[in-house]
């Protein structure tokens, strides 16, 4: 109980900090003279700040250094709390939106999924659209990582929380001796690259406001757009090219980016065990999808086929979920393959979701290793990634993670099927949500959105997004008896 109060204390600090984030939509509302929205966001900011301060004050005597296991509870609780707080402006600012839908939209934003329940995005107030994309950007690098960077009170426990939130199997690599500095370094690289991305999009011809919003959602691999037709609305090959470039960058480990930026040398990318595979897999996939579209003659010209295939493959595979075409109409191989890629393309420590490239590599190598040992029973064959041996402990945990991942997908798919959804929609909605990718197929395909779901189905998808973002174990661990046993 005492440690629970200590967690609530940190939670209060987090909410208080989060209140400052409302500045972004507030400024937007001021710029565009949207007085109603200004009022809504100011109210929300005040309410969040008050709630945070109240929690802080009530539990101030219980402030204590957090124990490692507290990290899991704190991460899960803070994601739910912040998501709930971030949902309120949607509830107040968008007419006829239920709490379920507002929470879904907020979760979709923070988890960088990018699937929406709203239609008529083009006519939404600027402040609301800004809020949606700003949530992406915050969720991309992670709420806790930001908190660790700016809140000294987390202390040593910060490392534990960072590990509980950071995506990927190898989380011990600190870039700097102090975890606070590491978190700052990650956020700095992230912010710097986002700024470049926004400028590039603007230079490619996007209006300023759209450039900012899309910059946020590209770098976080989110997928929210300010238009119902997503990126297709711009119909500009140049914009699509710039976005492909930055989506690829965002799917690479930000530790690698930081290293490359600090030393100003490219070799950090060459040493990165995962980055190269992103390009190999995506390159091969774009070729395959292009062929799948070109042979049946879906598009009249080859260049256009390549353009559509490249953008939509990269967008879905990196778990962004932007689109320029209704790819649900493509031969089924293409969209299914793109959804599969979304499981494995994003790297450890990137802003994407899914199983992650590192885990995929470990599993592939483990399979080959098993076969190798069958031929040479006496062989001592450690599993190596980029010349580094991977300890068995990590391999076991990866295998366990992948098992739990697929069980999660399976169970959530069955749950959606039980609620009356058709198979393709249920399966793809689950995959897209767990991978934080965005659109699925069928009723939740790129041409429609998640607004058609029943309340129950919406909650299931929101849960899938949360599980995917904080990597299942962090959440599931809370439901094991041993976690609560003293």
């Amino acid at each position: 109980m005492r440690s629970l109060l200590a967690i609530v204390n940190v939670l209060g600090a987090l909410l208080f900090l989060f209140a400052a984030y409302y500045l972004l939509p507030v400024i937007t509302a001021l710029v565009y003279g949207e007085t109603d929205e200004l009022w809504v966001f100011l109210q929300c900011a005040a309410a969040t700040a008050v709630a945070g301060a109240a929690l802080l004050l009530v539990t101030r005597r219980h402030r204590a250094e957090l124990k490692p296991r507290d990290g899991y509870l704190l991460v899960s609780l803070s994601w739910i709390a912040v998501t709930a707080a971030a949902a309120v402006p949607f509830l107040l600012g968008v007419p006829r939106l239920s709490f379920t839908d507002a929470f879904f939209e907020s979760m979709s934003g923070l988890s960088t999924t990018g699937s929406t329940v709203m239609t008529g995005l083009d006519s939404l107030p600027h402040a609301v659209n800004m809020w949606r994309c700003a949530l992406h950007w915050l969720g991309g690098m992670g709420i806790i990582v930001l908190a660790v960077a700016v809140l000294p009170l987390l202390g040593v426990g910060g490392m534990q929380m960072y590990r509980a939130e950071a995506p990927g199997p190898v989380k011990d690599a600190k870039l700097t001796p102090r975890i606070t500095e590491t978190a700052k370094a990650l956020w700095l690289s992230y912010a710097g690259m986002t700024a470049v991305c926004i400028l590039a999009l603007w230079g490619a011809g996007m209006p300023g406001f759209d450039a900012i919003c899309h910059g946020f959602s590209v770098m976080s691999l989110g997928g929210f757009s300010t238009h119902d037709a997503s990126v297709g609305w711009f119909n500009s090959p140049l914009i699509e090219f710039v976005m492909i470039l930055f989506m690829l960058l965002a799917s690479i480990n930000f530790s690698t980016h930081f290293m490359a930026l600090r030393k100003g040398e490219f070799s950090a990318y060459r040493r990165d065990p995962e980055a190269r595979w992103v390009f190999v897999w995506l390159g091969a996939s774009v070729v395959a999808v292009t062929l799948a579209l070109w042979l049946p003659g879906i598009y009249p010209d080859l260049l256009g086929t390549i353009r559509h295939s490249a953008f939509n493959v990269v967008a879905l595979a990196t778990t962004s979920g932007f689109m320029t075409e209704d790819y649900a109409q493509w031969p089924i191989f293409a969209p299914m393959w793109m959804l599969f890629l979304s499981c494995v393309i994003p790297n450890t420590g990137s802003t994407g979701g899914g199983i992650k490239m590192f885990r995929a590599l470990i599993m592939i190598k483990q399979a080959f290793r098993e076969m190798f040992v069958l031929v040479h029973p006496a062989a001592v064959a450690p599993l190596k990634i980029a010349g580094q041996a991977v300890p068995n402990r990590v391999i076991y945990s990866v295998l366990a993670f992948v098992f739990v991942y697929f069980m999660t997908v399976l169970l959530l798919t069955f749950t959606l099927l039980a609620s009356g959804m058709d198979f393709i929609s249920a399966f793809t909605a689950t995959i897209a949500s767990v991978n934080n990718a965005g659109p699925g197929l069928g009723t939740v395909g790129p041409a429609s959105n998640y607004g058609v779901l029943t309340d129950f189905q919406t909650w299931v998808c929101a849960l899938a997004m949360l599980l995917g973002r904080i990597e299942i174990f962090t959440f599931l661990i809370l439901f094991t008896p041993s976690f609560w046993r003293k």
Binding site: H376, P377, A378, A379, V380, A381, P382, K384
Partner: protein, 454 residues
């Protein structure tokens, strides 16, 4: 020359033995194990001092004050380096050699430049042995391959076998077979006895032949002496210690290498650092394991564990199971004698391989390299001739005019980048590197006198 050797291990003892054999040297050996020292003193004419080799008091007791050459060969890199530092700081000992095994030290060249660590020369016996074995594997058929002039010229020892072009022919026919290749037969041993080679000498089967050649011509020259062996592709290394591991590292890019290591921890560590080698956990004397890993299809089986008995046994076993060629590290010379029964093709003796680099330091004149051959009875050395025509007994004269001591012969010159084979009319110039073969190492003194001007 006053020599102080620290450490009476395998290499230390051999060094003491070799250095003490030359009457000009006074050798003192320091070790912490008194029993080893007593044993050494009873067999070799050296003085011994017991104690910790890096303590100043021990060094002083061993006579560091007027030592000319300090050779630190203890098993600890750090003790060796500290001993050199202390000798330098307290007594300005002129030449300091340290055995340093860890690549972490030796890979930083700057550490061993003047003004940095007081180590003039570092030697790494394991590295020397590893590279020696590597050369043998890359030159199948050779019993011994040693480098001169940084590898530009090589001396190769091998057995003449039926099928070699030169076998049954006079040596003079060599230039008909290889009109434009640079190579020269340096020595022939028949039934263990030295036969001075000249144009009329006929090569017989089972002769042990030494020839010198530029590196690129070695393979062609070897075909003169024995039937060309099939290419080496598959190598099994028994033992994953320093030597086995480094050997696998050197070979794994060009050959299919399997490495057998008994200690599971060591096997795991080795396997993590090797890229293409198949590391097997198990005993190299385990017949089942060897059969399972196709020892019968192996071109070279190299037994390089720390235990020479294990090396002998596993190499013999591998040979019986069908390995084409076996090689074993054997320290004891007497074991080497046992090996002539063809079950072990090549016996490598680490002390013999290592000792040359020490001998080069104690020779008078500018001796750059010394290689001990035929278990120490013969020697090949590379020396630089300095001086002017009127003061030197060799400069400006043709090789045929120089009267060499019995059993000694000039076999090649290295002039700048070029390797020149010795002919009786070749003129020796100043700054030439002269490679001399001594069938009888007792002639060393006479050879040195000849080349050492003034």
């Amino acid at each position: 020359m006053k020599v102080l050797i620290l450490g009476a291990g395998q290499v230390g003892r051999t060094a003491a033995q070799n250095l003490a054999r030359e009457p000009a040297n006074e050798v003192t050996v320091v070790d912490s194990n008194e029993e080893v020292l007593r044993d050494l003193q009873s067999r070799v004419d050296v003085r011994t001092v017991a104690g910790n080799a890096s303590f100043p008091s021990v060094l002083v007791a061993a006579g560091i004050a007027d030592t000319d050459l300090l050779v630190a060969l203890t098993s600890s890199d750090e003790v060796n380096m500290i001993a050199c530092e202390i000798a330098n700081a307290l007594y300005r000992t002129p030449t300091k050699i340290a055995r340093i095994r860890a690549g972490e030290y030796t890979s930083h060249d700057r550490l061993f430049t003047p003004g940095m660590l007081a180590v003039d020369v570092w030697i790494n016996p394991e590295q020397l042995v590893t590279e020696y074995i590597e050369r043998l594997i890359r030159n199948p058929g050779a019993l011994q391959v040693v480098d001169f002039a940084d590898g530009r010229a090589r001396l190769v020892g091998m057995l003449a076998r039926r099928g070699g072009l030169l076998v049954g022919q006079q040596l003079r026919t060599l230039k008909d077979h290889m009109p434009n290749a640079d190579a020269r037969i340096a020595a022939i041993y028949r039934n263990g006895r030295f036969v001075p080679p000249d144009g009329e000498t006929v090569v017989e089967e089972d002769d042990e032949i030494f020839f010198v050649a530029a590196r690129d011509h070695i393979q062609r020259m070897m075909n003169e002496i024995t039937r060309a062996e099939g290419k080496v592709r598959k190598v099994i290394i028994a033992g994953g210690g320093h030597i086995g591991f480094r050997l696998a590292q050197l070979l794994e890019k060009d050959f299919q290498v399997k490495l057998i290591e008994r200690n599971p921890d060591r096997a795991r560590r080795v396997s993590e650092r090797l890229e293409n080698t198949i590391v097997l956990g198990g005993d190299a004397q385990d017949e089942e394991l060897l059969i399972e890993e196709n020892v019968d299809d192996t071109d070279v089986f190299a037994a390089v564990t720390n235990s020479e008995e294990a090396n002998v046994l596993s190499a013999m076993l591998a040979k019986r199971l069908g390995a084409r060629k076996t090689l074993a590290i054997i320290n004891r010379p007497s074991y080497g004698e046992l090996m002539d029964n063809r079950s072990i093709d090549i016996a490598v003796s680490p002390p013999t391989v290592t000792i040359g680099s020490l001998l080069a330091r104690v020779r008078r004149g500018d001796v750059v390299r010394v290689h001990s051959l035929r278990r120490g009875s013969a020697e090949a050395l590379e020396t630089v001739v300095h001086g002017t025509q009127d003061r030197s007994r060799v400069i400006g004269r043709s090789i045929g005019d120089i009267s060499m001591p019995n059993g000694a012969s000039i076999i090649a010159l290295v002039r700048g980048e070029k390797v020149v084979m010795a002919h009786h009319d070749t003129l020796i110039e100043t700054e030439d590197h002269v490679i001399v073969f001594l069938a009888d190492r007792r002639q060393v003194e006479a050879v040195q006198k000849l080349f050492h001007s003034g």
